[in-house]
Structure formats: C-alpha cells, structure tokens
Amino acid sequence: MTRAWLVGLALLSGCTTSSATSASVGEFRRTQVGRYQVKLELEPEPPPLGELFRVRATVTLRDGRPVETAKVEVDAQMPQHEHGMETRPRLRPGECDAEDRCKFPDGIYIFDGFKFHMSGDWTLLVHVEGPRGPDSTSLIYRAR
C-alpha cells in the first residue's frame, strides 16, 4: 500500500490537523483540496483501548452526492510516538461486477481491524481517489 499521499497530506496540512478533536468524528469535513466531504465514524465509539473496532468512512461530493466508486484508504498513527497500529485494517468488499468494478452503496466504506493500543492522540488519515481526483483529510482522535 503506497504511503506517499500521507506525506503530501502532512505537508499540506501542517499542524491544522492538531486543532481537530474527537468531536470531529461523526461530522462531515471537507478534504484538503475541497474535492470531497468525508465523515468518519468509529464503531463502537469510543473504541475500548486495546480492542478491535471498525471505521466507517462516508464519502460524498461537495454537493452531498455519494461517491460510490472511489478507492479509499484510512489509517491511524501516533505521530509523536512515531508509530501506527499493530494491526492491518481491511476494507469490506463492495458490490463488485464480473469485471471487478466495485461499488460502495451510499458512499460508505467500512474498514475492520483498527485498534488503538495506546492512549493518547491518534491521527486518523483518509485518502480518496475518486471521480474528482485524489484528495485527503485527517483528524485527531484522543483515545483514552
């Protein structure tokens, strides 16, 4: 899985991601360049420390229409500790046709296998490769 987009995201966002808090979970936020809106939901919320949880990413265009055919990646890191997760989350399969073109109804992408193994600030990063091109966003989630 390529990680180049994460570095780009960091360059673009600087410290702006630090101003976000767990209050941003469950709310739509505009991606860096403004091509999409993304809502992240953690299930359960809050996720118990050291236990697996899932992340539901809802992706729409700016006008609210769902983006159902994007390539979406979500990751979580603790930048101040210089590490990510001890797990490899996986995207649940969408509805795919015989030619492996997949659709994610209502623009909902569900990832299983997230785990916050430490308390503290985790950066949730989202990258979308969709019909308007690539774009990213991030938010800070305080795990406790």
Binding site: L49, G50, Q77
Partner: protein
C-alpha cells in the same frame, strides 16, 4: 503500521498532543477526567467468553484442569507441574529471574490471574489462547520436558474417569497398550520418528486427548481471576463521594496513585481494569545479555501456531485478532507484553528477563532510563521522570495496594493428593 516521515514531520512542526493547562491539584483531589481514569482502573470481574474452548466455563472441566495443573506426573521427570513455575503463593509466578523446570528457561514466569483477559499469551504473545499457551510448557524441553503422547497416556491412566465423564471417548485400552511411551512432532528426532510411526488414527486420538486436557487446564486458569484490592475499595469510596476514599489507601499510597496517573503517566501503558494495554513495548532494559526478538518473532509464531484460534483444534473460526495482526509492525522488535500490575508486589523479580529485583528497582529504571535499546529504539513515550526518593517510595507503596484478596483455597491447591510416583519416568 508505521510511517516515519509523516511522524517526524508532525513532530518537527511542533504539533502538540495536549496543551490544556490543568490546575495543580493535591493528591486525592481528583478532577473529573482523573475520576474517569480511576473508574476505568477499577477491577471489572466481567470475563469475556472464550469461543476457542467450548469447555472454558465448564466446572467439571475446570476441576480436571486443576488436577492437571498441580500434577507433576505430566512431566516424565515426575517433578515439574504447571504449579512449579506458577506457584499460587507467589501470585502464580515463581520468584525466580528465569524459570527452572527440567532445565532453565529464557524468561521470567508471568502471573496467571489477569491473563484470561488479553488476546495474547506469553511475554511475546506467541499463543492466542490459554490452552494453546499450556501446550508450550508441556512440550518445552526445559520446562516440563513432556510430549503429547506422554501427556495423553498420563491423563487417561491417572485422570481417565474424570476425562471420560467430561469429554467422552479418549484412548482405548488397546491404544494405550500399543502407543509408545513418548512421541511428538518436532521436539527431537527420536520423538519425531516415534510420532511418524503412529497410525493416523492413533495420532488423531492422542491429539484429541492432548488438546482437551489443555482445554481443561485453561478452564481452571480462567477461574483464577484477579480479586478486589485496597485500590478498588478506595475508588469505590471516592466515586461514592468520600474524598478520603474510605481510608482504604494510606496517605503515601494516595500520593503514589497521584504520581501514577499524573506526573509519572504510568497509565499510558498500564490502564484499564488490569493495568495493562495488552500491547508490546521495547523498554530498552539494562542487563540484556543476548538478543531476544520478543514480539517480532511472537507475532509470526502465533499466526502459524499449531493450536491457534484458526487451527482445527479450536472451537471457533472467528479469529479477528489473528485476522488483523500486523506481524511486520516495526516496534515489535525486542518488545514484550505490558504485564498486569494487579498483585505485582507478589511477583518479583520483574520484567521479561527478571532482571529487576524489586518494585523500587522498577521505579528507579523508569525514572532514570539508563542506557538505550540495543535494537531499534526504546519506546518513545518513555522519558526520565525526575522523581524524588520519596516519590519512588510512594509509587511502590501504591503498587502494594494492588494486591488482591487471597483466592479461595479450592483454587490454589489440587483437589486431591496427586501421587507423582504413580507415573514413573518411562524414557
């Protein structure tokens, strides 16, 4: 997963974690956030189910498991049982730096109470269930020095009635008559050859008894739950509105608790009802005389473990922890599992290598962080604490308040005398 460039960048940019300034509070004067932390640390007796073992909560299986746990006849030496390294009087540890079975192990014996709750067993997490863990010491040449055929024969010969009442089946007399004294795959060439010489049917029968015996031991171990400690009673009283916490902690212990959750920030890793994040960290310990890969190897081993959650011997196929484990996580190098702190005063010496003799030495280590890791890097969250000698003593005093009430005698001794001489060494 780890992405160093991004992490370094954010740190360089000075992105802070928390810049909220809290008012200075006296020990025992808890903020709302700290009360939440204390509530989260309070003992929670709820025990999650173990779907890998359908007998995990069967009282008769637990009773058999208790007999097996204390039975040195499971070792061909007739001298080593599970209780040799997991002594109830020492919090189910053994008081040694590294354990002594029929030989010397490489690591300190972890305590059992509390181990029921985490997804990983052993210091390096190379097993994912209690019963898979139990297989390790049985067949370790330096622990019980046994093997699955010897184990199965002994279970049937000495505990056969109880075994059949719980599980049914077992080895027939004809099988017992024709099985070799010892046979197992992969331990040494002789045992391996004897194992390969068995018929498929006999191998299957031995495996059946072996794994069910292990599950009985696990059913017993699940009953060894951590018990309420003075700390828990203090928390209950504080949460009920008594700022003195019912007097359940001495003033030095309250100061130690305050340091634990505030200045020393021990709850970063020692959180939750068992004071552990169940994760793996490289502490950069002093006195390591050899490279031990720790979790970096344990993570690979558990994925291919013969008795893991996904194995044919497991009673479930829902194995999410294995499903999503990332064995290539870079910080697994020389990382070991965060141990529970409940009953920690009973389980000296400390750390995976048993290199720190007392709790005071442990606090001293975290306070000063001497040296550095010889592999990868020490956990970055660790910073010297700048404690006073009094602070150190208060922290130790607090850790003593995590010693739970004694377990009932029915759990800390064998159900009836086991005559080790009933099964003499046969090889």
């Amino acid at each position: 997963m780890r992405i160093a460039p991004l992490a370094s960048l954010l740190v360089l940019l000075g992105c802070p974690g928390s810049t909220v300034t809290e008012p200075v509070r006296q020990p025992g004067d808890w903020s709302e956030e700290e009360l939440q932390t204390l509530r989260a640390l309070r003992l929670d007796p709820t025990l999650p189910a173990d779907p890998t073992n359908r007998w995990s909560d069967d009282p008769e299986a637990a009773k058999l498991g208790r007999s097996l746990f204390f039975d040195p006849g499971l070792s061909p030496s007739g001298a080593v049982s599970c209780a040799t390294c997991h002594n109830p009087a020492l919090g189910f540890s053994d008081g040694r730096a590294v354990s002594q079975g029929v030989g010397e192990t490489a690591r300190n014996a972890p305590a059992i109470p509390g181990s029921q709750y985490g997804p990983w067993q052993f210091w390096d997490g190379r097993a994912d269930t209690l019963w898979a863990q139990a297989a390790g010491p049985v067949e370790s040449p330096v622990e019980m020095g046994s093997d699955r055929t010897f184990f199965a024969r002994h279970v049937m010969n000495t505990h056969g009635e109880a075994y059949r009442a719980i599980f049914g089946g077992g080895l027939t007399q004809e099988q017992l008559d024709r099985l070799p004294a010892r046979a197992a795959p992969g331990i040494d060439p002789d045992l391996d050859a004897a194992w390969k010489a068995l018929s498929a049917e006999d191998r299957e029968a031995v495996m059946e008894v072996f794994t069910k015996g292990l599950k009985a031991i696990a059913a017993y171990e699940r009953q060894l739950l951590p018990t309420e400690a003075p700390f828990d009673r203090y928390v209950d009283a504080v949460l009920a509105g008594d700022p003195e916490g019912g007097g359940h902690l001495k003033p030095a212990q309250v100061r130690g608790l305050s340091l634990f959750v505030r200045e020393a920030n021990c709850t970063l890793c020692h959180h939750g009802p068992h004071f552990t994040d169940r994760a793996f960290h490289n502490l950069g310990l002093p006195g390591l005389t050899r490279y031990d890969p720790g979790r970096s190897l344990g993570a690979l081993e558990v994925l291919s473990h013969e008795f893991n959650c996904k194995s044919p011997w497991s009673d479930t196929d829902r194995c999410e922890e294995l499903e999503y484990l990332d064995p290539s996580f870079p910080d697994f190098q020389q990382a070991f599992k965060t141990p529970t702190l409940r009953n920690v005063a009973l389980t000296a010496p400390y750390m995976h290598h048993g290199g720190l003799q007392t709790l005071h030495e442990v606090i001293e280590f975290y306070d000063e962080l001497p040296g550095e890791s010889n592999v990868n890097h020490r956990e970055l969250t660790l910073q010297p604490l700048g404690l006073t000698e009094k602070d150190r003593r208060d922290l130790v005093s607090f850790l003593n308040a995590l010693t739970g009430d004694p377990l009932p005698d029915r759990l800390t001794s064998p159900p009836d005398p086991v005559d080790a001489s009933s099964t003499p060494p046969t090889r």
